[in-house]
Amino acid sequence: MTWVSITTAAWLGILTAISPCPLASNVAAISFIGRQLHSKTAILFSGLLYTAGRTMTYLALGALLSSGVLASGELSRFLQKYLNEILGPLLILLGMILLGLIGTGLSIQMAGEGIQQKAAKHGALYAFPLGVLFALSFCPVSAGLFFGALIPLAVSNNSSLFLPALYGIGTAIPVVVFAFLIAFSSKWLGKAFNSLNQIEFYVRTATGTIFIVVGFYYSLIHIYGIKPY
């Protein structure tokens, strides 16, 4: 394996993250990771888990595809067809949980604790499944770069784990960096105006709202076939 293939794999990941097509899910991820203004550790932990979720997903896909257990074309078409359709309603439900619209009643309590309370208390842990979910929701650019460029690169370099993992890290880095920037600028704003609690409330509300808006966007495009432009 050469440095060229290592940097290419990471660059393909970054290219995927900064391209316009996964922008909606990236905005949701940024708001989710950066919403815990009270703790740098929580944001860092959340960012690391989100990165781990994405990385593990691409690593698993890379291993399955390189070993021939799954066929690239069939898997890609399946994920592009169904995952993006599931994502819309799912994000709306997650947004509703984050806003406390559902998940606080007795009927959907889990282990004596509402989902929203759990999300608030163990919020960072949810970054891992979020990373897995967003990694599996291939848009045309991520499908093209992963299945069309990264997998052939991994196969030709006999690296079914390392290069897909680097790609995964590459897709998460811009998201985590932006989450940090937004979180710290919001915190600075809160301190400057002596209203950190107020800012925290707005950030939490914005996160839930962003999830719902992104869920609508995915539903309208992928379920109802409405063209965005």
Binding site: S19, G73, R77, I92, P140, A149, I221
Partner: protein
């Protein structure tokens, strides 16, 4: 700003209704689509240019959701073919068709499409004789000169084959 309980309930119900309708719509869409699957969609569908000669047909395979990057791959490749192979284009030796691979699953399976891409084929009537799937349009997107050379080369090779065969 806090919402009143009444407004909260109204928003919750509206959002849940949208979620349920969307899930129902998606399930219905897939059940209709699986009933309408047409086995003939694998045909080259030459759009009226019926010919017993071998022709080069270029398919641009895309998903239902067409992103900005995908549209630029399609327009760049199409403009290149129209410009660099103007004679063959004018004489309809080269044909172009954009196909949604999420609708035409038979063609997607035949070409083993994983993502939006350009596929250069040789067709005769409505039969696809051979194809070359150009996956590298994605990594080459940032390198316009190499992208053009890659697509041109594939089209040139296909044209050379049909010109040899048709003589």
């Amino acid at each position: 700003m806090q919402l009143s309980e009444k407004n909260k309930r109204l928003i919750t119900n509206l959002l849940l209704a949208f979620v349920l309708i969307s899930i129902g719509f998606a399930l219905g869409k897939h059940s209709v689509a699986s009933k309408n699957l047409d086995g003939n969609m694998v045909a080259a569908s030459n759009g009226g240019a019926i010919s017993s000669d071998r022709l080069v047909k270029i398919f641009y395979m895309h998903a239902t959701f067409r992103c900005v990057t995908c549209n630029s791959i399609e327009s760049r490749a199409k403009q290149l073919v129209e410009r660099d192979f103007a004679d063959a284009w004018a004489s309809k030796k080269i044909l172009w068709e954009a196909v949604n691979f999420q609708i035409n699953e038979a063609l997607a399976k035949k070409f083993d499409v994983a993502a939006s891409c350009v596929v250069v084929t040789i067709v005769q009537g409505d039969e696809i004789l051979e194809f070359n799937r150009l996956d590298d349009v994605w990594p080459l997107l940032e390198k316009p000169a190499e992208f053009d050379a890659y697509v041109s080369d594939a089209v040139r090779k296909a044209l050379a084959k049909i010109n040899g065969d048709n003589k």
